[in-house]
């Protein structure tokens, strides 16, 4: 979008994003993306095989990330991790295998249907130090300096006010905290007939 977004544009984009991810929650990750999803995508992105082996296959099938944020650096035992835009919670479950039982993992997502799916994915895994909640990246429901690490996978490109979301991420990180992000970026100019399409936000 080259021009300023109107309030109507913003509402349409938010509704479009929520609608798409509600569909993903219902139909599975394979329904809606132009890149690989599920366990095969995680293998291609180099997620540790020993960790993937601890997560049920039907949960791994929910993965629709655009990369592997864990490849950017280690997460240490005992650390607190925020999974920003956690979707169905697959990366949260990877993170908790790294923090161990002394750590804490919180998954946050704007789509209620995705959080319901993440909670269902968590059920029966015996991981009391993982929780999921609905929330907006532009207004994080956490105190200052709450997490050692924030991971995010394919989410910030969907955020309307990226500057605000990044300021919020900075606020809730502890000093020395790490921000590990996989995201979709523009690599070339959009043609004019696509540049102003609202649907570009959630394709």
């Amino acid at each position: 979008m080259k021009g300023e977004l109107t309030e109507g544009d913003r509402r349409s984009i938010r509704e479009g994003i929520r609608g798409k991810y509600a569909q993903v929650a219902a139909a599975g990750a394979g329904c809606c993306f132009k890149y690989p999803t599920g366990q095969e995508a995680m293998r291609l992105q180099g997620y540790p095989a020993d960790i993937l082996a601890t997560i049920p296959e039907e949960v791994l099938a929910s993965f629709c990330g655009v990369g592997n944020p864990f490849s950017l650096g280690p997460i240490h035992p005992g650390e607190a991790v925020l999974d920003l835009g956690c979707g169905a919670g697959v990366d949260s479950l990877v993170a908790v295998r790294m923090t161990g039982p002394e750590g804490r993992v919180v998954g946050l997502d704007v789509t209620a249907e995705m959080i319901a799916k993440a909670r269902a994915n968590l059920e029966g895994l015996g991981l009391p130090n993982v929780s999921f909640q609905v929330g907006d990246a532009e207004s994080l429901p956490f105190p200052d300096h709450d997490f050692e690490v924030i991971i995010s996978n394919g989410v910030l490109n969907l955020t309307l006010n990226k500057e605000k979301a990044l300021r919020e991420a900075y606020r809730v990180l502890k000093p020395g905290g790490r921000f590990l992000v996989a995201d979709m970026i523009l690599t070339s100019e959009l043609p004019p007939d696509l540049a102003d399409k609202i649907s570009n936000w959630y394709q």
Binding site: P69, G73, K162, L166, V181, D183, M184, I185, L186
Partner: protein, 71 residues
Amino acid sequence: MPGKDFLALMLKAGFHRASLKSYTGFNSSPYTEGALFYGEKPLDERLRRDIETQAEHLAEPTKVECAPVGT
């Protein structure tokens, strides 16, 4: 958003060591590609807070009277 614009926003938010580390090879269109970004919240903020906390607890040092000693 192009990667350099995203990096600029990270820096503006306060992150240091902000960088675009690599591309992931996953594309959602011919004009987009997955990318990996890294950033850190500076440690200086912690050091500054530690120093402030220590300063709050600093007691006035006790004065020691020095008696002259003979040679």
